[in-house]
Every structure is written in C-alpha cells, then in structure tokens.
Symmetry: C2
Subunit: 338 residues, 2 copies
Amino acid sequence: MVARKVKLSDVARRAGVSPATVSRAISQPDLLSAATLKRVRAAAQALGYVPDGAARALASGRSMTIGAIVPTLDSTIFARFLQSLQSTLARDGYQLLVASHEMNPAAETEAVRMLLARGADGLILVGADRPRSTLDLLRTGSAPVVLTWCGAPDFACVTVDNERAGYLAAQHLVELGHARIGMVTGRLSFNDRQRARLAGARQAMREAGHEIPDWRVNEQDLSLAGGRIGCAALLQLDTPPTAIIGTIDLLAIACLQEARARRLTVPTDLSIVGIDDVDMSAYLTPSLTTVHIPTGRIGQMAAEMVVSLLENGEAQTHVDLPIELVVRRSTARAGGKA
Amino acid sequence: MVARKVKLSDVARRAGVSPATVSRAISQPDLLSAATLKRVRAAAQALGYVPDGAARALASGRSMTIGAIVPTLDSTIFARFLQSLQSTLARDGYQLLVASHEMNPAAETEAVRMLLARGADGLILVGADRPRSTLDLLRTGSAPVVLTWCGAPDFACVTVDNERAGYLAAQHLVELGHARIGMVTGRLSFNDRQRARLAGARQAMREAGHEIPDWRVNEQDLSLAGGRIGCAALLQLDTPPTAIIGTIDLLAIACLQEARARRLTVPTDLSIVGIDDVDMSAYLTPSLTTVHIPTGRIGQMAAEMVVSLLENGEAQTHVDLPIELVVRRSTARAGGKA
DNA sequence: TTGTAGGCGTTATCAG
DNA sequence: CTGATAACGCCTACAA
C-alpha cells in the first residue's frame, strides 16, 4: 500500500555501512562497535525497517518458529498448554505455529508435513499414539520433536503418568469403600491418554479385588454433552455404580450436572472423581475431587526442551512431571454417609 | 539427522524435467500435461520431497501464514475463536501463527511487529483499543488486517455489538422488575469489549430511570477467582443488588458459585446474567441466562475475510454479527418470586 | 571491527 | 506445455 519494502541494503546505505554490518547489528550486536551499532539502529529506526523473516530463514536455515499440534484448540486443557508454550517460547524469541487435528490421525500427519514445510525449527505434539508413517516422518525430519503427556522411548518427551492418574482416582474410591464404579471416558482410539487413564483405574480396582466391566465404561465425546450422556447411561444400569470417574474434569463436571439434574446428591448418593484439575473444578459446588495434572508446566517444560534441543543440541530428553490426587467434596464413603 | 535435504532440483533430475516444471507441479498443476505431472509427483514421492517454505515465501512474496493476536490463549472464548480461525484457514491452505499479549499493549505491538517480520500474509486482532502507534504500524504494514469483536472505521472488521449485549442483559433485568443491579466486569483499560458492555448496561438502566453507580461496578480479573471476589463485594454492600451482570460468562458463573456458597438461591434471592453463552452456561444448575455471542462465527468470518482480502483484493470489510438474549434459569422477577 | 561475494531453494518472466 | 535465467532479501565464511 505504501512505499516499497525497506530492505537491509537501504538501511546500510542510510547508515553508511555495508549490508553485512547491518545484518550483524540484528543478529550479533556484540561484534560491532558501539558507535556503528548506534548509527545502524538509528537508520533502521528512521526507515522503519523490518527484517524479512523468509529471507532470514532461507539464508540461515532457522525460522525461529516452533510448531505445535494439539487434538483441538477448543479445550481448557490445551488452551492453557498453548498459552504456556507460547509465553515460554516468546521469551526465547520463538513464535508458535499452531495446528489441530480434531482427533483425525490423517489430519495430524498433514499438519506435521505442513509445519515442517513452513520451516518450523521444532515440533511439539500431544501423545505418542499415531501411525508408524507419521512417526517416521517425525524421525526423518531434521527438526527436533517433543512429545507431551504420553511419550515414546525414542522421542524427547514431557510426560505425566496417565495410568497412575487413573489409578489414583480409583484407589481413592476403593479406600472410601466403593466397589462398583463406572467410568465415562473420551474416545479411546488415537488417544493414549484416555486409554492409559482407564487402564490405571482398572488396575487399581483389580488390586482391590474388583473389576470395571466394559459395560460400566462409557465412551463419549470429550464435551459436557458427552459427559452427561455417559453419566446418564451409567445411572440407568440395573446396578448403577456408586461412584463415577470422568477421565477428564470436563466429563466429571458434566457428571456432576447430570447427577444434580436427576436429583441425586453428590457425594452422598454418588461420588464423582475427575482428572486434570482445571480451574473450574475447585469452584464448583460440590468442588470436584480430581487428580492434578500440571498442564501449564508441561507446556513450559516442552518449550524449554525444544529450545535447548535446538540451541544446545543436547538436553534432558525425558521428563516426567508429578501428579497428585486432590481430595475435595465430590467424593464420600460408599453407602451414603459423608 | 539423516540425508541432506531433498530439494526441488533433485526431484527435477529424478523426473527428468527442469526445476521450473517441478515448481509448477506444486503450485499450478493445471499447466502441466497429465503425464509429466504424474512423473514429477512420483519422483517427489519417492524422494520424500518437502518444499521449503522459506524459499517459497521469499520468491513468491507470500508465506501462506496468517497471524492472530489474542489477549490470552487461556480462555474458553479465544480458544473457540482460534479453533474456528484455524480450521477455516486450513481449508484455504493457510496456517495460523498465534501470539497473545496478556492485556499488555506494548506486548501486543511487539507481537504485531514479530508477526509481520515472520512474514504473516495477514493479521487478525481482537478489539480496536490500542495505541495510535500500533494502529499506524498496522496500517503501514502491507498485510491486510481484520479486527474482531470491536472494530474501527478504517479497518476491516467482524464485530458484534458489545454495547447492545450489555443493553440486552440489563433490559431483561429491568423487565423483571430489577432496579438495583450490580456488575462484575473485567479490567476496563485496553479492553473496549468490556467498556462497551458496561456502557450498554448502564444505558438500558438509564432509559428505565435507574442508574448503575460506580460503586455497584466491580472491576476484576477475568477469572473465576475474580468473579467470586467481585460478587462477594457487591453482596456485602449496605444495599446489595437484586441482580448481577457478569460481563463475560466466566464472571457470571463465578457469581453463581459465590451466591451458592453464601446460601443464596439463584434466581429467587439473586438474579444473574452473563454475556457470551459458553457451552458450560447451558449445563449449569441453574442454567445461566446470557447474551449469545457467536464466537465461532466471528472466527470463521474473520478468516474468510483475510483470505478474500488477500486473494480477491476486495471484500466486504464490515460485518456485524447478530447477538441475542438467551433466557434460562438464573433470572427471575425482583422480589423473590420466580 | 567491517567489507566482499556467493549462495540459500523457489518462483516468475520469457522464450521456444 | 516446458526450459533457461534472473531475482527474492539476508547470512556468513573469508578477506582486509
């Protein structure tokens, strides 16, 4: 719309130095004398110079951009995760390029390809459950990759023990005397987090001499609507569970709402446990007993990991963040007494 | 890690054609004969060729990347907004580059500069309230800009009448006989959406012969914690309001929780109205009366607008999306009777 | 500390 | 329909 683009050489001419000097002024200021640096900066300022990222990327081989692929952007969890990634990366001068796959493996592969094509210097993905072809693409790519939540042995990753999360949730219920517990989970395919949480809960019950039969596990969309449907289905069984675990807080919150809609009192009539510990959970009435997952930390660590992988070449490549049960008011002893 | 990068010319050699032909095979397939096209594609496939975005961007002047700057990623609203932007842009082959400013004007300016430097072909921002210098930077930049939620006359924008949103919320309360209403708002500076919603509510009250004095307006962080604090403050006034408007659902939901914590029954003892109509609002007990804002549509339209600005040069540059009051169970006649 | 020169991988303009 | 041949704007040895 306005004057044609100001380029490096324009600044150089204005400052009376060579293009190389201007280039250095941007990327390696220390190599210049204070005087010239100042002069170059003044010239750049005056001309309103903005370096061309594409050209820099092409010449230097680095785009200062990190790609992140999440299942969906429309989720409390991933929103916080991205916020955390974004702010941490920004500190190091990197920009975040985001993509989502909406639970479609092919879309994820496509996203990886696109991000790589866009020149992302590094990639951050969620989970490790994806087609071998995608994994190969990731390994082949020259960009460092960091997996989050769930990891794979041959990839750098920032994990959380999802199986243990499910275990802790169920164990808590066992300790309260519950033997018949139901679960509302998200879709299990292409989602290792969900599978692990379910498996962990089953493990805890098994160790206590109980089981969670398939018909007490209800697979739903990860939404409030899904949670309510799943909860309703479990409550309508001939022998309804005395407690329900939602594999993510959103689902558990929906269960809380469904229970209330059915005039059941939580936790007296029904205990409910979630996993994640989102903000909302602490503020509900009754507040939700859940397993805390350090979502923000996962993002921060993942960001720091790609950056250090990128800049130091090396880095600790396996971090497992601690999780813990947070007992609040949505759980009580089986049998009705709080 | 592996073989050095496969480039255009490698594919060309393998396919026995010139580099130019390979380039066309990617960007203008129609110009090639079916036979050569097929041959080139096979070669590219075999070599695992991935075009270099930086080089393409440098040579073509377009990065196929759109930058979006939101106040924060960590919000239901903006998460949905971004999701919508992302999926719409993806359809046209664009990638989303995101940044957030956490309510810091300077950070936003910095983000604009960075996004422009990264070669974003277009920019999507939230609101129109920012320093003149940033506006100038936006105008100067050669990239089309689309403002969302609130607009400015000389920018393309996808808006929603925030003032009317506040107006509708208050008007509904007036019709229910409420004269003393309180408001819990977010920080008003650097946030035209909040100011407009507050102003609209005041306008509605004024027209009804009432006022919303400053001391019945409580400015808080846009969080559940903020909402509860704000609600508590209003309820502790000598003459507490009979109804409260939260300028975003999150705040209103927090008010609902605070009211319950104080053993107040909503809507009998206190009516509460929100603005946004997030998913959760419909599922709460009582469900939240609120003003529906088509968040997803805003994102979709904004995305379509940048793209058409980019590709057709022209486009409708001012779209105002309709909003409407959604009456649910959190409001009732003043005086206690539902 | 600063200048020179060649190249990064594609696209685009022109011929053929 | 396809092939040469310049740019594109910046970085980076290498030289001074």
